[in-house]
C-alpha cells in the first residue's frame, strides 16, 4: 500500500450528506417477536402482549436493534455505503444508540441518515477507513425517539 490517501475529495465531499426523511414503517408485532426469538429474548414487555397491556406502557416495546435495516433511510446502504472508496471490505466497528422516547409495536417510524465523518487511520497491516453515520428515528407524533450512530470500517 502506498502513501496516497484512501479518502479522496469525492469521499470527503460526502461528509454532511443526508438522506431525505424515508417512507414510514409501521412496526408489526410478528416482526418484533421474530427478532426476540432470534436473540432468545424473553423480556415480557417485548414478547408478552397481555403483560405489556397491563404495564405502564400499555403496549409492547420494540428492541433498539429492530430499526436500522428495517426502516427506509435507516439502512446504511442508502448513505454511508455510497461513500466512494478504493477499498471494499467492510466490518461494523461500533454502534452507539441514544433513546429519547419508548418505541412501541404499532408505531410508524421514519428515518433520515447522514454522514458525520470519513477519515483514515493506519492499521496493523494496512490503512483503514472509518465512516461515521448517524440516523435519527421519528415516530408518528413527530417525536425523535432514537439516534443511532454507526462506525463502519473499510479496508
Amino acid at each position: 500500500m502506498g502513501n496516497e490517501s484512501l479518502v479522496g475529495p469525492e469521499a470527503k465531499r460526502m461528509i454532511g450528506a443526508e438522506t431525505p426523511l424515508g417512507g414510514p414503517l409501521e412496526i408489526e408485532k410478528g416482526a418484533v417477536l421474530r427478532l426476540g426469538q432470534s436473540t432468545q429474548d424473553k423480556s415480557p414487555l417485548y414478547t408478552d402482549e397481555e403483560f405489556a397491556k397491563k404495564s405502564k406502557h400499555g403496549k409492547l416495546l420494540v428492541p433498539v436493534t429492530f430499526l436500522d435495516y428495517n426502516v427506509p433511510s435507516g439502512d446504511e446502504r442508502e448513505i454511508t455505503w455510497k461513500v466512494p472508496l478504493p477499498v471494499k471490505n467492510r466490518v461494523r466497528g461500533k454502534d452507539e444508540i441514544e433513546l429519547f422516547h419508548p418505541i412501541y409495536v404499532g408505531d410508524t417510524i421514519r428515518a433520515r441518515s447522514k454522514v458525520l465523518d470519513v477519515y483514515e487511520k493506519e492499521g496493523k497491516d494496512a490503512k483503514l477507513v472509518f465512516i461515521i453515520g448517524e440516523t435519527e428515528y421519528i415516530n408518528q407524533h413527530d417525536v425523535v425517539v432514537m439516534k443511532h450512530r454507526i462506525t463502519s470500517i473499510r479496508r
Binding site: 432470534s38 436473540t39 429474548d41 436500522d68
Partner: protein
C-alpha cells in the same frame, strides 16, 4: 418471564449484572437474526464471501452482540427501568460454534434531575476467554423513595 424490580438503592458500584449465555452460535441462529433485521450481508451466511475477505468462516453479526447487551440490560432493569443509552465496540470476531457470554457490571450511579441513573460496562466473551466486544449502557431505575 417476570423478574423482581431492581431499584436505584439496590445497586452498588462494581456489582455484576446477571449474565446471559448465548449459543453455541449456529448459522441458523445468525440467519434468523439477519432475517428479523432485514440485513442480508453475505458475510454472515456465505462462507465463500467471508473467506474472500480473509475470515476463517462467516462472522457473527456485531449487532447480534449489541442485541444481547440490550437484552441483558432490559431483563435486569425490569418493567420500571428505562434504557437511555447503549453501545457496542467490536474488537474481535466470533464464529459459528462459539458460545457468547454476555456480562456487565456497575461503573457508577448518580441522582440526575431526580432520576436514579446507572452507568454500566458491558462485554461479550467467548468460550476461549477472549473478549470480542465491549460496550456501555446508561439506564434510569426507580427510586424506593419515590415509590412509597
Amino acid at each position: 418471564m417476570t423478574t423482581k424490580q431492581v431499584y436505584y438503592e439496590d445497586v452498588m458500584v462494581d456489582m455484576e449484572l446477571p449474565g446471559i449465555t448465548y449459543g453455541p452460535v449456529t448459522t441458523e441462529m445468525m440467519v434468523r437474526f439477519s432475517a428479523a433485521r432485514n440485513n442480508f450481508h453475505p458475510i454472515h451466511y456465505d462462507k465463500d464471501v467471508a473467506r474472500a475477505e480473509g475470515h476463517p468462516d462467516v462472522l457473527v453479526q456485531g449487532p447480534l452482540k449489541l442485541a444481547l447487551f440490550d437484552r441483558l440490560m432490559r431483563e435486569w432493569i425490569g418493567e420500571e427501568g428505562v434504557l437511555k443509552k447503549i453501545s457496542a465496540t467490536y474488537r474481535g470476531i466470533d464464529l459459528p460454534g462459539n458460545t457468547l457470554y454476555i456480562k456487565g457490571k456497575i461503573l457508577s450511579k448518580n441522582i440526575e434531575k431526580d432520576k436514579g441513573t446507572i452507568y454500566c460496562e458491558l462485554w461479550a466473551e467467548n468460550e476461549t476467554g477472549k473478549t470480542t466486544t465491549k460496550g456501555n449502557a446508561v439506564v434510569v431505575l426507580p427510586c424506593k423513595l419515590n415509590n412509597g
